[in-house]
Every structure is written in C-alpha cells, then in structure tokens.
Symmetry: C2
Subunit: 138 residues, 2 copies
C-alpha cells in the first residue's frame, strides 16, 4: 500500500473512529461517519448534542485540537488485515461554507442523509490531516 | 442495552480500537485483537515491536496509562448502529502470570493464535476498565 491507496481506502470506508484528548489527558473515542475532501476529513455532530459523547468531543477539540482517525478492516484471514490512520488538527465550524461543504459531501456519500435520515444540522468537525499512516501484513 | 449486554457485546467482538495519548497530548489509535477477563481487557503486542505503532503504544502507556477501547458495528441501516467503549488504565506485562493469562484467553478466543499463527510472544497490555459506556439508537 502506498499513500495514494491508503487515502483511497480511507475515503471509501463507511465508518472511522475518532480519538480526541481532554484537558486532563484522557483519550476519548467514538465512531463517525465522514467524507474526505482533499486533506480534510469532514463530519457533522448531532443537531442537539445532548449526548455526552458528542459534547465531550467538542469540548476536547476546543481544549486540544489534535485528533487521530482510524479506518480498519477486520478479516478472519489475518493476512488480509489492514488499517489506515489519519493524524491531524480538528476545528469546529458552527456555520458557513466549510460546514456547507461537509453537508454536501456527506449527503453525496451517504444515502441515509438524503432519504430516511434528514440532512445533518449540527456543527461540522473539520480535521485537517497532517499525516497519513497505514499498515498491512500482506 | 444495559451494562451487562454492553460488556457481552464488547467481549464477543473480534476487533477493538485502542486510543492512547503521548506525553505531548497527541492521541494514538490502533486496532487490536483482545480478550476480556472480568474488568480487564487483554492484548499482546508483536514479538519484536519494531513497527512504529507498537512501540508508540508502549511508550504512550508508560507516559500516560489512560486508554480508551472502542467496539462498534456499522450497518447501512443506521437504526442498528451501536458502540461500546471501555475507559481504563493500561499496564505492560513483559512476563509473568498476567501475561500467561492473556495468552491463554487469546488462544481460546482466536483460532488464528492456535493454528496458522503461532502463540503470541510479545508483551501483554492489560487494561483495567474503570468505566463502560455504550450507545445505541434503537
């Protein structure tokens, strides 16, 4: 796998996991749906982030913008295991063109945002990726 | 989902993701195979952790034992999405009964450790879980 293929596999995945860190150095970890736009990984939080995990993610990013995103595929044939990690800095966009772009790309990628589920209306989390890492046994 | 079911789903999963934090507050994230033993989540690093991710994980735990472990299941029917997160403190066991126990349980859970793949021979990472969190839309 080279960086181009790592980026492709990452972008094509349906779910990633986002790790952030709070002011006391505790890691936090949630799955996200996302879209890739060049070096940015875009996601949208819930409309009304009453749930602790959503609020925690936003608070962590405010305290420490460093995040890690992981896409991995498990297979019982361990020769086929692989993962791609994107390290970067996150910012929260409550409104404006960056958030509009996130919604546009998420709707394009996920039918769920166009049909059964309404357009996401929460804040966008934009991660500018500064480093791609990947691993495969094969 | 209650805590008993959250623990069951977590224990039954084939892969989890482990987030750790380095001395500078950067999160690190890797997929792991694991076994659950009561409140402990057990995994084994590679025999010769020359690869950066393995070394990084061990260095991070030495600097900051706080880790988060996530099991999640993606489904195109978003009504079926769920995740379980275990927050805790990690320690590295190079040898001894805790590591022996980790190997025993990993071999019991993963056929790969009994057949095509040899018994794991690296250090054990033992995470004592202090908090279980879970989410499901349904």
């Amino acid at each position: 796998m080279d960086e181009a293929e790592a980026r492709e596999r990452f972008a094509a995945a349906r779910v990633a996991r986002m790790a952030s860190v709070d002011a006391d150095g505790h890691p936090h970890l949630v799955p996200i749906v996302f879209a890739v736009d060049g070096d940015d990984v875009l996601s949208i939080v819930d409309a009304k982030p009453k749930r602790t995990p959503e609020l925690k993610r936003l608070r962590n990013i405010a305290a420490n913008p460093r995040v890690a995103l992981l896409v991995d595929e498990y297979d019982e044939d361990w020769q086929r295991l692989w993962w791609v990690r994107a390290d970067g800095e996150a910012r929260v966009e409550e409104s404006g063109p960056a958030r509009d772009r996130a919604i546009e790309l998420l709707r394009a990628k996920y039918e769920q945002y166009r049909t059964a589920w309404s357009t996401p209306v929460g804040a966008a989390v934009v991660v500018r990726v500064t480093r791609w890492r990947w691993w495969t046994l094969a």
